[in-house]
Every structure is written in C-alpha cells, then in structure tokens.
Symmetry: C2
Subunit: 272 residues, 2 copies
C-alpha cells in the first residue's frame, strides 16, 4: 500500500491508498482517482485533492445549501465548475426547475459518471443541462438570469484563475440574485482567499462563511457569498423543513453559525 | 531540512522542521521540541503534536474562554495537565484570584519555561500554584472547590487515559461549578471522543462544542463542557467586554456558534 501526499508549502497531508483507478492527462489537467483505505474514492486534479467520498458532503453541502436556503424560492440555478456532480446533486434536493452546469473539462464529467458516481443520478436528471465550455465565456455570453449562481472551481491554475477575477464576479453579479464561490483556506492559503474576497468586494457586497473539510488544506475552508438579504435562523429552519432536504453535514444551526469567524480572520478581512 | 510526520492510521500530517531543539525521555513520555518553518516552535509528546506557536491559541482559547465566560465570576480555577502554560496564560486574563495547575511531568513545565515560553510569564504569577503530581490523585484528595475545572490532557496514553474515566469525571464534578475537558477529534478519533463523552455523561449533563485546530488530527477539534446554565450571546458579550480579554481566535460569536454541530456529529452523539 502506498501513500498519496499533497503538500502546501511547509506542511502536507498524506492519505493511504489501495489502488490507482484513473491516471490521465487532458488538455486542461492531470486527473487521478484513487481508492483510499479510509476515505473511499478520491478525486485528485493536478496533484490537489478535490474530494473524497468520506467528506465531500461537508464541502458540497456548505457550498450549495447556504446560498440555496438564503434564496426564498430558487428555481433556476447555475453551477460553474463542479464537474464531479456533487454540487449538482445537492442543488436538485431543493426542487429546482432548471439546473445548468458549466464544466470546462469533459473528462471530469465522464469519470464522475463512470467511476465516482457521487452525482447519484443528477447528471441524468431531466432538469439538468450540462455545457462543456469555459465558465468565463458562458457567463459573458449568457442572456439568462439565475436565482442562485454557484462557483465550484478548483485550486487556482491557468484555467481556473480567471474564476477569481473582478471581471468574472462583475458579470456573475449581473445575472443572479444570490452568488457564492468557494474561497480556499484562509489559514493555509491566505493569499488566494484574500484575492477572491477583495475581487468580489469590488463589485458586490460579500460576506464570508466557513466550514470544516478535513481533506482540504488545514481542514478550515471558506466561502464568499453575496445576497441582498441574509435570513434569520427561524426563516432558514422553516425553509429547511418545507423543502425536506436531507443532509450529512449541513443544518440550519450550522448555516447561521458558519458566519461567525475567528478573531484573527475577522481582523484580516477588515484590515486588507 | 526535514519533515516531522504524525500519522493517525491511514492519514498523516507532515510539518517541515528547521531544527530539533529538545529530544528527551522522562519517566512518563518522550518530549520533543522542534523549530518548524511555518508554525514557530512545536511541542511533541510521544510523537503527537501538542502545540505549535502558530495555532496553539486556537486550542487554548476555546478550551479556556468558553467555560470561563460561562461562569459569572470565576475566582478559583483548577487546570489538570496543561504543563505548557498556554491554558494558564488564558485563565489569568480573567482576573482570577487563584489558579492551580497540576501537571504529572515536571519536565514539560521546565521545557515550557525555558524554551517554549508560551505561558508569557504565567508560571511566575503570584496567583498561580503549580503541583507536580498525578491529576487523578490531586482531584481525589482535594478538599477545595473550584469555580472552573479545566482538563487539558494529552492524547490518551498509559497515564492520561484515566483522565477520561467515569471515576475521574465524577470526582471533578463534585469539586467544581463549570467543568470542561478537551475531547479529541470526533472525525479522526471518534472512539476516544465517544468514550470521553459517554463517561462524562454518566456523571454530569454535558454538551459538546467544537473548534478548528489545523495541527491536530483532521483540524476539527472538540470539547465537552458541563455547566448548570448556558448563557445567551448578550450575556457572554457583556462579560467579554467587562473583563477586557484579548484574544486571537475566541470571540463571543464563536463561543455561541461552536455549540452548533454538523448533522453527522449530532446524530452520533444522540445515537450512542
């Protein structure tokens, strides 16, 4: 048995693997899927862990349900990235009418359908349309409006870096009511986090919430959200019960609690 | 430059080190102190990271300030373990009259005084008394009562294991108003966590709260607390301002938010 290792500068996470299920290069990236000992299947893009079966719900549920429950009635949803189908699966739990997923790398979708299967049938759902193209282009050209827009991008690279630009956020803001993007680890990847927050704040009022994802750098993950109003716990609870959403990590109390930030993070956000 | 590695079964954390500052064996354990590249000095006991300068406050502040602010007026405080002085430093911020620290291994205190220095002078404070003895014995024999009792033990081993026994918790409960113990990672060390919670609940009403400590297994850490009443955010805020406590991680919002648990953890706690 071997170990997979992902290092972030001067610290690293290691996960013991049983088997390599996929290892290929596309035009965009290297895609690997491993069978791990304790974390189920694991998707790795360009050497960075994207998800494991054991904790992917911690990430996808916080990315999706916080904006979806902040919206009174999300019917039309756009996901940029998220080719593994995890975010799509969570979006469909809200009884939406129309879910659009825009993924640049078709192979991620193919491998997810064939091997990961965390979409749990979402790719086959009648309400879903999948576009294989650059999210930047899609958003630039789109004539449609969305109730919720979710950016589920990878770690910044040559392609995904533009998903953290001011221009992209500006266009996103124009075509949706509630916007959310994952925003890396404020502890382990402070520069990326600050850049995302800064760029978003130049074009929208944005707030930060956090959650725990053990297989991401440092385990402490963040999200940047923009919404016209933020709801009370009572309102979120009512929507949660009405929509009958079943979760592994998310609940209305965690939703509200996730906006309380540690003192050091509050100070960094204020002082940038 | 080398790497220090701590594995927890099938996953592991690695931290790059510059220099070994201490490496010795006492009657109780192996004590190592490293100078790391990114995390400052790091204390390791029996191969397990106890603290790094960079994130020790995340742990010590959540362990100490939650029980201390749940108490209306903590004057007398007992710390079991905590020989590094981090918890003691935080306790003294509350203007207590009497702080007792009971550490089994004198060398931990000596090395902390000489090399780590995270106590920031707390060991020299007039209000502090230090007892080098087994915490179990101290609690069994004590004729005193304490406003707050804090168990700051290491990962379970031959000596610290009794700090998670029903008998120990029963005696603790009798001599204090507010009780807290660190309770390991519910994600990475579920069995230890459940054992601590189960044993505590046999003798007291106990609640769980959580916090983020990046250099502990999985980054997701937990604490078990028992108090006659739990205060509202307004009350905690008022006490926080009145006592003028300065923090790096803790604040009243995080205090209240830390009791909101992910769905999977809520279910495990209810179903054990």
């Amino acid at each position: 048995m071997e170990w997979f290792e992902e290092s972030y500068g001067n610290f690293a996470l290691k996960i013991r693997i049983k088997e390599v299920l996929v290892d290929l290069r596309t035009d965009y990236q290297r895609i690997q899927v491993f069978q791990t000992c304790d974390f189920g299947k694991m998707l790795v893009l360009d050497g960075k862990i994207q998800l494991t079966e054991k904790d992917e719900a911690f990430y996808h549920e916080m990315l999706v349900h916080v904006p979806m429950f902040e919206h009174r009635n999300p019917e039309k949803v756009l996901i940029i990235g998220g080719g593994d189908g995890g975010s799509l699966r969570e979006v469909l739990k809200h009884g939406v009418e129309d879910a659009v997923l825009v993924e640049i790398d078709e192979e991620v979708v193919n491998i997810s359908k064939k091997i990961l299967k965390i979409d749990e049938g979402a790719f086959q759902d009648d309400r879903v349309s999948i576009h294989i193209e650059d999210g930047i282009e899609f958003v630039r050209e789109s004539k449609e409006r969305f109730d919720v827009l979710i950016v589920d991008g990878t770690d910044p690279n040559q392609y995904s870096r533009s998903l953290m630009s001011r221009e992209f956020y500006e266009r996103c803001k124009k075509i949706c009511d509630v916007f959310v993007t994952q925003s890396q680890s404020p502890f382990a990847q402070k520069e990326y986090f600050m850049q995302i927050l800064k760029n978003a704040r130049e074009v929208m009022e944005a707030r930060v919430y956090t959650g725990f994802v053990p297989t991401y750098p440092s385990g402490f993950w963040s999200y940047v959200i923009s919404s016209q109003i933020f709801s009370s716990l009572d309102v979120i609870r009512e929507r949660f019960e009405k929509r009958g959403v079943k979760t592994r990590y998310y609940n209305p109390e965690i939703h509200v609690a996730s906006f309380s930030l540690p003192e050091w993070l509050k100070k960094e956000i204020v002082s940038y």
